[in-house]
């Protein structure tokens, strides 16, 4: 399952860090953060709970960049 979320992040490097953090989250197959369009495209692993995973993603992202926001 592939989904795209709107995100808010101010610096390009932070976007890279967010991408890393998201990719390391359980339940995520691959994630790409697009700084220019402020969008995150996430492919979930089979059978994972989207809401739950995204909550964890946001938490992990907050760790690397306090200011970021993900709309889900």
């Amino acid at each position: 399952m592939k989904k795209t979320y709107n995100i808010e992040v101010d610096c390009a490097n932070c976007a890279n860090l967010m991408e890393d953090a998201t990719n390391k989250t359980d339940g995520i197959k691959t994630a790409t953060v697009n700084f220019m369009t402020q969008k995150m495209t996430v492919e979930f692993e089979e059978g994972s709970d989207e809401k739950k995973v995204m909550k964890q993603v946001l938490k992990n992202c907050k760790k690397v960049e306090d200011d970021c926001e993900i709309e889900f």
Binding site: C11, N13, F35, M36, T37
Partner: protein, 637 residues
């Protein structure tokens, strides 16, 4: 943020001036004004602007420590500035200007970055602003605006002059001209009337149109294009991957070398029984930390690509990702499908070689005698005639299968057909040197000439091949399922380097594979097709370019680069855009790296202080961002 910057700047200037008058270099001798303000007053004074400008960074740095993230840029800035203050305290110089200034410039840089990025994002999105906001549905004689999302298939919607067509459909009422530039980049208006298909994203210029929708909004052309463009910069290029990898090692590497710089030289100096001068070396190490953010690179590279993609889409060239933009710039081999790509894909009267009567009359006779037939050849003759056909002028039509037609037009006997027909009636004909289908004509029992019907070469094809050559393409190759003589003629006419005729669709794939194998690995091969039956080839080539894709979903799916109209000149243009964009990318990479490393080196040797470092950091970023935005400007390429 701007207010904080201004307040800090003002305070910084005031305090510096004050310090100039009321402080002494070593804290003991008299100052210039005679009065001496002593520590810790200066420290407290300077801490005010420091906290005003830097409190959020300090806060983030603290959080970073809690999250065990040492290489976070906030943390590094905090360490560098606090370190600078500490050194000033130890040196008793009371010079805290530097710490505040570094923080200040850092914040200015951040502000500029977010401004520039937001601004360019907005610019680019405006370029691609083809999203229609509403659809008009007529209800009880009045127009009601609804969201295009809510319009089901088969609804009749009204488009007034000046409005965007929100959903693909078929005109049921009215006629108008459309501006298709949002889709194709060409501003040639297109006329539409009842039963014409219209695509969403076009702007209705003159009359009121009523159309019956044939697709949902989400499936309409405009949505497809927007989706494609928006997701395009998620396909990252090698340069972008390189930069993110580089950024990951750059910061830790600089920090570690800063640490080494702070410790190793003083220890060596100690061993050499010289004064260790810890302060100097720690200061130099702190300078390193200031340059440790890879921001200029990390921001400018994706920005360049984004601008390049945006600029290209404005020209009706949709590129599905930065990786394809990058590959496009390395294109050395261009393989064309003939029909529909270099030629129009429709049969047309290409030449008239007349004998006794003039050209127009010959076509008139041909069109009239063939008026009862629906054969593509007959249709092309009727089209070439261009006028309404008066069937009452024709009688005695006889179709002789495999030969042609004989008929009486205005009472004159006309025979139109191939050589066999001419032989049959004993007319002496001249064979033609042109390739294509030849219609020989005999009028009033005399040979009158012949008409050549063939798939016409697009007017821009020749120029397109030349433009490709000029933009550094090594070889152009044409593949076709057509006969050898037709292919040869087209190839020679267009000056294509090589051609292969008589290929089945599957042969095209293996041919492309063959070429891919024989070429150097770094040279990219682009295949250009119309996307109708060459999807496998589009997929197999390094870059699949589909042209004339307006409204064809299959082509949009299969290709990596989609040309919205069918003008082959756009291929060379796409390559030039990609070259320019990649050029800017490389400029930025080299420029940023050179400046950063130069600063690191000068900093290590003590030639560059923290001021220079922050200027290098922020300045490089600003220049790189401005340079990146240049990629957007592709109109004149």
């Amino acid at each position: 943020m701007l207010i904080r910057i201004i307040i800090t700047a003002v305070l910084l200037i005031i305090f510096s001036v004050l310090r100039f008058f009321f402080s002494t270099e070593d804290g003991e001798t008299a100052s210039r004004s005679g009065f001496v303000i002593k520590e810790p007053v200066w420290l407290i004074l300077f801490l005010v602007p420091y906290f005003i400008i830097g409190y959020d960074i300090l806060k983030k740095a603290f959080k970073g420590i809690l999250n065990r993230k040492v290489f976070d840029e906030n943390f590094l800035m905090a360490v560098a500035t606090i370190g600078a203050i500490a050194i000033a305290i130890i040196n008793k110089s009371s010079d805290y200007t530097e710490a505040v200034a570094v923080m200040l410039f850092y914040q200015i840089g951040e502000l500029f970055q977010s401004y520039a990025v937001r601004k360019s994002r907005k610019n680019i999105s405006e370029l691609m602003d083809i999203r229609p906001d509403y659809a008009n549905i007529e209800k009880d004689g009045e127009l009601e605006r609804v969201s295009p999302d809510e319009v089901p298939i088969g609804t009749v919607i009204t488009i007034q002059p000046g409005e965007k067509i929100p959903i693909d459909g078929i005109v049921t009422e009215g006629s108008s001209t459309l501006n298709t530039s949002a889709l194709t980049g060409e501003s040639v208006p297109r006329d539409v009337g009842v039963s014409n298909e219209v695509l969403s994203g076009c702007i209705n210029l003159s009359g009121v149109l009523k159309i019956r929708t044939t697709k949902e909004f989400g499936e309409s052309t405009v949505s497809k294009i927007l989706e494609l463009v928006e997701s395009s910069s998620s396909n990252k290029s090698k340069s972008e991957a390189f930069i993110s990898k580089f950024a990951k090692v750059y910061t830790p590497a600089v920090c570690i070398s800063a640490l080494c710089l702070a410790i190793i030289p003083p220890i060596i100096l100690l061993f050499l029984k010289q004064p260790a001068s810890w302060n100097t070396w720690i200061y130099r190490a702190l300078t390193f930390l200031v340059i440790s953010c890879p921001c200029a690179l990390v921001i400018s590279i994706p920005l360049s690509f984004f601008a390049g993609l945006g600029g290209a889409s404005k020209e009706g060239i949709l590129i599905k990702g930065s990786n394809y933009l990058e590959a496009l710039s390395k294109t050395k081999y261009v393989v064309f499908d003939k029909t529909g790509t270099l030629t129009k894909g429709v049969f047309n009267v290409n030449a008239v070689h007349h004998n006794t009567i003039d050209e127009e009359r010959l076509i008139e006779y041909a069109a009239l005698s063939e008026c009862a037939s629906s054969h593509p050849i007959s249709l092309s003759l009727q089209k070439a005639y261009g006028k309404e056909i008066d069937r009452s002028r024709v009688d005695n039509i006889q179709e002789i299968s495999g030969h042609g037609i004989i008929a009486n037009v205005d009472g004159i006997a006309v025979a139109a057909g191939n050589e066999k027909l001419m032989d049959k009636y004993g007319y002496e004909y001249r064979s033609c040197h042109k390739t294509g289908t030849i219609v020989h004509m005999a009028v009033d029992n005399e040979y009158a000439g012949h008409i050549v019907i063939s798939d016409e070469i697009k007017p821009d094809s020749k120029e397109a091949i030349e433009a490709l050559k000029n933009s550094g393409v090594k070889k152009t190759i044409m593949l076709t399922g057509d006969m050898e003589n037709v292919a040869k003629d087209v190839a020679e006419n267009l000056k294509v380097d090589e051609y292969f005729a008589g290929l089945l669709p599957a042969d095209k794939v293996s041919k492309v594979e063959e070429i891919i194998e024989s070429k150097p690995k770094n040279d990219m091969l682009a295949f250009v097709g119309d996307g109708i039956n060459d999807a496998p080839v589009l997929a197999r080539a390094d870059i699949g370019i589909a042209m004339g894709a307006m409204g064809s979903d299959a082509a949009i799916e299969a290709a990596d680069v989609v040309l919205m109209d069918d003008n082959p000149l756009k291929i060379a243009k796409a390559i030039r855009i990609s070259r320019k964009c990649l050029g800017i990318v490389y400029q930025n990479i080299v420029f940023a790296l050179v400046i950063k490393f130069a600063c690191l080196l000068l900093g290590a040797l003590g030639f560059a202080n923290m001021w220079a470092a922050i200027f290098a950091d922020v300045g490089v970023m600003i220049i790189a961002v401005l340079n990146a935005i240049r990629a957007l400007n592709v109109k004149k390429l």
